[in-house]
């Protein structure tokens, strides 16, 4: 039940895999594969933002896309105006985190219940989506950056070496930076979850009243967790914008929010590795489907989602883990016989 982080094999395996890919990836993959895998890395950072607040803080957000989009636009606008990307990248974390804190304050201090909270986060996302879609006219510009409405902002700068605006990262380097971010994020989140702060989050997830009865300020705690999640989602948005060199209102779409939910569900709520695996598997699947012309792809994806929920309700990783445990438990008995 309570295992120390440094004794958890899974933790070290994940870090080892991450570091191995980080070092070896650019050597063995071709450009296309690197681009492909970079995308999975960015989306993994994004999904962790929800997996953390949902699985380890009990906060369900239908609006992670609001922060993802905010981060993407923040990065794009700031980097176009400043001509370099380091500060904008920090801003892509900071601004959504602040906004998350404000929204969290609004919700948690207003004592909104679960379903209603879900709807508020969804509505906020929709407001962003509506407003950003409305910015097609030339009057909507922030400094040098035209917001562009439905068409979005083209030519978002590629990440550069801090302090050297001319030194753009090539795709291999960008992959390594992003992979490093993912590995660090994973370590930070696991450490955070294992810390006292993390235990309290878990406690709040389990029973808010008891947490308050022990003297923990539930509302403040939830606001902090929510803001951390918002910051991570925003950072992922910034990564997304610079990876695509392009950003459009789809970053604020309901679909984007839903994907985070789907990946977390499919991978398993209450794990971090599961959702990352789900990102890779499901994104690869939708990529492969688009290469074929057999059935309508919406039809297939929708079917897969329904089957997943019905047959693997706990999510991939926990189900796998349970199966392994069951297998282990059975083996000795079989040997005795």
């Amino acid at each position: 039940m309570e295992t120390s982080l440094h004794r958890d094999a899974g933790f070290w395996v994940m870090i080892a895999i991450g570091l191995a890919l980080l070092v070896a990836g650019p050597l063995v993959w071709d450009l296309f594969q690197i681009m492909q895998i970079t995308q999975y890395v960015v989306l993994s950072v994004y999904v962790l933002s929800l997996s953390y607040i949902w699985g380890f803080g009990g906060i369900l957000s239908f609006g992670q896309a609001a922060f993802f989009g905010l981060g993407a636009y923040t990065f794009s606008v700031a980097s176009i105006n400043m001509g370099e990307t380091t500060f904008p990248f920090l801003l892509a974390f900071g601004l959504p985190a602040l906004f998350g804190a404000a929204l969290g304050y609004f919700m948690f201090y207003g004592k909104l219940s679960d379903v209603y909270m879900g709807v508020v986060t969804m509505v906020v996302t929709l407001i962003f989506w509506k407003l950003i879609n409305h910015t097609a006219g030339p009057e909507y510009a922030i400094g040098d950056a035209r917001l562009g409405g439905f068409n979005g902002i083209p030519s978002v700068p590629v990440l550069n070496v801090p302090g050297k605006p001319e030194a753009w990262l090539d795709p291999g380097q960008m992959f390594q930076v992003f992979m490093a971010i993912l590995v660090i994020l994973y370590i930070v989140l696991r450490t955070l979850i294992a810390s006292d702060f993390g235990r309290v989050s878990l406690g709040i997830r389990e029973n808010e009243t008891r947490a308050a009865l022990l003297g923990y300020d539930v509302r403040r705690h939830k606001v902090i967790v929510f803001a951390i999640g918002a910051g991570i989602a925003g950072m992922a948005g910034g990564m997304w914008a610079t990876y695509q060199t392009f950003v459009d209102p789809n970053v604020f779409s309901l679909e984007m929010s839903a994907k985070a939910l789907i990946w977390t569900m499919a991978g398993g709520v209450g794990t971090l590795a599961g959702p990352i695996i789900a990102v890779v598997v499901l994104q690869y699947l939708s990529l492969k489907l688009g290469e074929m012309h057999v059935l309508n792809n919406n039809f297939i994806l929708g079917g897969i989602m329904m089957v997943l929920v019905l047959l693997v309700p706990k999510g991939g990783l926990p189900t796998l883990r349970d199966a392994l445990v069951a297998l282990k438990a059975r083996t000795p008995a079989a040997l005795q016989r």
Binding site: L31, F32, Q36, A136, P138, Q244, N250, S286, G290, E291
Partner: protein
């Protein structure tokens, strides 16, 4: 498109095998490979499917005539599912992994601006085949669809001559709508008319009651529509329901580009609208007759509804193939230089030539009236220049340009 049980089973079987062995998709090597990127599912599949079909038909036609340079032409096509991240992935895949010689595709401006820089970076020739707001300036791209100045410059004076001077614009709230509205305003004023009001609608607006009341209050002579998409069809429907059909006529340069809107409205709702694009199925020439007959035979009951975007897709493949035959190779710069000679090609849409300065087309523009779901051509304008893009783009002077200019009026 209908689906029998048997074809469903075949499809499922195909799905299983392809999932198991995706590599067999890319087995052939001695063919000429071209790429196609059109949304076959998701929100804008109604545009993507006809374009994809036109592309495949063009390829089949080439192969039936013995292929290109004696080699078979193979179309590598993907379905980006109306999803920008898939667009950028497939574009990278086409350029780097499939190593195709040319790519045809992209529908919305957002999708084009996602993939255009990728093809530019990886030096893969690219054709964009939709009517759009204009301004793209990239020597690696050829843009064959009409731009606002081409259609609006003809349509505005035409309808003002027919109906009167007071114009009310209803437009979709995105770049295309805003830029087109600015052009309409300019031509209305140049022709001595008066612009009463411009109203913009988000692309998901379905209820137009309040705007229709406002128009009734303003009493314009002409309603000029720059609305886009299925949701916006509600405008024409509610317009007719308010009894405005026959009271104030509607003109549009955005309606009918895909060729699908006119069949989604009933005759009572659509009749009498006057529209302008670069192609209607009713264009009368030999190339169009054989194009229509050929694609009908090729697809049978599944034949796509034809409109500017599908005809232009067909056109782009044919034009590229002719350039390949002329130069005797698929090499990118050779093709670009060949097309920049500005030769005129006989296409179903009439005579089409590339403007070397902008890589847009100088082409015929048609004005038609909608009658029982058919576009009846009333007037043809020959060799119309893409004057809007010409204002901002000159590839002869600046061949390294790699962006879409904002055309401000």
């Amino acid at each position: 498109m209908t689906l029998s049980r048997r074809s469903f089973l075949q499809a499922s079987a195909a799905l299983t095998t392809t999932l198991a062995a995706p590599s067999i998709l890319h087995a052939k090597t001695d063919t000429i490979r071209i790429g196609g990127l059109h949304d076959l599912s998701g929100a804008i599949d109604s545009s993507g499917v006809p374009m994809d079909k036109a592309l495949r038909y063009a390829v089949a036609e080439l192969n039936a005539a013995g292929g290109l340079l004696g080699r078979e032409v193979e179309a590598v096509t993907y379905d980006p599912q109306s999803n920008m991240s898939l667009y950028s992935q497939y574009a990278t895949q086409l350029a780097l992994k499939d190593k195709v010689d040319v790519v045809f595709g992209g529908i919305t401006s957002a999708s084009r601006e996602t993939i255009r820089p990728i093809f530019h970076r990886y030096k893969t020739l690219y054709f964009y085949n939709c009517l759009y707001e204009g301004g793209v300036c990239d020597r690696n791209e050829f843009t064959l669809g009409t731009t606002p100045a081409q259609t609006i410059a003809q349509l505005v004076p035409h309808v003002m001559g027919l109906w009167g001077k007071k114009v009310y614009i209803v437009a979709a709230d995105y770049n295309y709508g805003h830029i087109s509205a600015a052009w309409v305003k300019r031509y209305v004023e140049e022709n001595g008319g008066e612009l009463v009001e411009t109203e913009f609608f988000p692309l998901d607006t379905t209820q137009f009651g309040s705007s229709i009341s406002k128009i009734q209050g303003a009493k314009p002579d002409i309603v000029y529509s720059l609305l886009v998409g299925t949701a916006h069809l509600g405008f024409y429907r509610q317009w007719a329901a308010s009894g405005m059909k026959g009271e104030i006529p509607i003109a549009s340069s955005s309606f009918g580009g895909a060729g699908t809107e006119n069949v989604m409205l009933t005759p009572e709702e659509g009749n009498g609208m006057v529209v302008a694009t670069g192609y209607f199925p009713s264009v009368d020439n030999a190339a169009n007759a054989s194009f229509k007959a050929g694609i009908k035979t090729f697809y049978g009951n599944d034949a796509p509804i034809l409109g500017e975007i599908s005809e232009v897709t067909y056109e782009s493949v044919k034009m590229w193939a002719q350039a390949v035959s002329e130069t005797g190779a698929t090499e990118r710069m050779g093709i670009i230089q060949e097309l920049e000679k500005g030769k005129s090609y006989d296409m179903p849409a009439g005579k089409v030539a590339i403007d070397p300065d902008t890589h847009h087309t100088i082409r015929d523009v048609y004005i038609a009236e909608l009658k029982d779901q058919e576009m009846v051509i009333q007037k043809t304008f020959n060799a119309v220049q893409p004057s809007d893009t010409q204002m901002v783009c000159n590839l002869s002077k600046d061949p390294d340009s790699n962006k879409q200019f904002e055309i401000s009026l």
